[in-house]
Symmetry: C2
Subunit: 353 residues, 2 copies
């Protein structure tokens, strides 16, 4: 499958990826290869990687606990300390293998350790494959605020192999579908129709490749989030707030990112219909298709104020103003839209109805 | 005094600096100006700054405790949290006013907050004026390891005003002299001679301007520390290790950076004499001049093993190999030199003799 060239690095696929990574390690004068894993990727993914690589170099494995709750500066400090104790120097390489928590946090750890060492990302969940492979975003959460601390930093390469999807749960794969649907709705009707028409067979590697290709086009067009790149936030303004709220509420289950974004896409499409006449038929189709895949997030009316308050802390806000990406139709986005609190509540009502 | 143009930003001097900063704040669409201070710069420097600026914008002051001991991720977390609580967004500006701890840490905090907000540095100590104004280094310590976590990130501008030196102690000013001597020994004999000839009057703004000019030439020539820039480490290989050792020893006084680098320059010049025939007369002159200014750091023979061990953790090491910058003569540097443990101990003996 064809390599995708991002800003400054390649995204390689399957066997070609291992070949390229082996060559990279062998040709660069790398002192030690560190591999950042969580307990899941350590057990299920690392053996695959080690078998596929043909390199003659020392590996040091650093394991952190899985989960968004551990994507914080405390975990970073323990990894920075481990790198220090294991003698990592500026010619060391960090390979991050795992879901988005590992690749986002590992990228941040690498690019701030001794003012930056090189890193390679191997996403093992569908979400991290389609969302985190390009864009150069690294970071960790600050309390419940997602990715509040981070920088833009590019890996040396990204390696995609759907074999790793066999190591994660069905739920995790479903979660990643939300981002793919987002690419479809904002940028590629054909991709969306693969879901809406309930095509019997979805070829996973094809939709991963197409999603990365789309994100890459968007990112290359707009590297610092001035314009087009904002479409990547579709479904995320309300979605992120709901995700944060459920994460910080002791009596609520933690949502997958996909569940939250699914809710976000339905509600933001509803708002799009009210403000920009997004076609009602498509809205209903979107709601039905997405709820069939993701089910309903049990939001309560009493949650609304907190959710709306959390939106005000979104990184993308300027002057305390919440900015939405909305749609006039599929593939027809409008950025920097203002939405009243009443309409947000109405959209949540529509979602729950 | 003439503005110095660094990689991507200007270093302005005195009244011209305030004018440029006021224009910058007024012309950019900045939502809120945050000012990072410690208790000293808050009391003594901030009033000067606020008086000189002619801007119509809200200021929010964030104070942290002074001292290298607080240049850590815990302090960063409290500042990131304060920025969050005060609603800092991507169009906020952070002005760091204080010594190197404030400018290094503030640069790191700004450039990692929401993946980067703009910042301006106003160094108020001699050391931070001549050392931290150019080079784009930001960072914090990890345990006793100085600047272990950080990135390269440029401020929007740097503002130099020697009036702030009236607010810091004599000891602090002396500390900064070590870096100026370093620029002299490695790069500009004329600058060195201002010290060695004990010129009655040293014009402080002139030697600050010349030091920044030198560092800027070096940094522009070699932005990512491949070659020439390594001369900035002269005196720092042994100096940093001694500084770290005194910082982590409960029964030792904390050294100023200048005291440690003064020791480093004498010992590394001694090694230069042994390995590269650095002229003995100059070595003796350097030892005498530097000790007259800085006194003697009370290193004990029993400290040697720890000091040598700490050198092995220097960020600049590759493959565990400690690299020295040495001199064949004044202005004649040699980079990437290996030195035996015995010779390092001999150099410390010479320093103490």
């Amino acid at each position: 499958m064809q390599t995708i060239t991002s800003t400054s690095y390649p995204v390689h696929f399957q066997e070609n990826g291992y070949k390229e990574l082996s060559t990279f390690i062998n040709q660069k004068n790398i002192t030690t290869v560190f591999i950042l894993v969580d307990e899941n990727s350590n057990e299920h993914c690392l053996p695959i990687l080690q078998q596929e690589l043909t390199v003659d170099v020392t590996f040091e494995i650093i394991e952190v606990e899985s989960g968004e709750i551990n994507k914080n500066l405390g975990t970073c400090m323990s990894v920075w300390q481990a790198l220090t104790d294991l003698g990592a120097d500026r010619k060391s390489l960090l390979i991050n293998i795992g879901g988005g928590v590992i690749t986002d946090m590992g990228g941040f750890i690498a690019s701030t350790y001794k003012r930056g060492i090189e890193f390679v990302n191997i996403p093992t969940t569908l979400l991290s494959m389609v969302d985190a492979s390009v864009g150069g975003k690294t970071g960790v959460d600050l309390g419940v605020l997602k990715n509040q601390i981070g920088i833009f930093a590019d890996p040396q390469m990204v390696l995609i192999d759907p074999i790793y999807l066999q190591t994660v749960s069905e739920k995790e794969i479903t979660s990643g579908m939300a981002e793919i649907i987002k690419y479809g709705l904002t940028y590629d009707q054909t991709l969306w129709e693969k879901f809406s028409e309930k095509t019997a067979e979805i070829n996973i590697i094809d939709i991963i490749h197409r999603s990365i290709e789309i994100k890459n086009e968007v990112v290359l067009e707009d590297q610092f989030e001035g314009g087009l790149r904002k479409i990547l936030n579709f479904g995320h303004t309300i979605g992120h707030a709901v995700e944060s709220h459920f994460l910080e509420s002791k009596d609520k289950k933690t949502l997958t990112h996909g569940e939250a974004i699914a809710l976000g896409m339905i509600t933001e499409t509803y708002i799009s219909n009210k403000l920009f006449n997004f076609p009602l038929k498509d809205l209903e189709d979107i709601k039905k298709t997405i709820i069939t895949i993701f089910g309903i997030v049990p939001v309560l009316k009493s949650d609304y104020p907190t959710i709306i308050d959390l939106m005000k802390h979104d990184k993308k806000n300027v002057n305390g103003q919440v900015n939405f990406v909305l749609l006039e139709g599929i593939e027809k986005y409008k950025i920097d839209c203002k939405v009243s609190t009443d309409l947000i509540e109405e959209a949540l009502d529509y979602y729950l109805a």
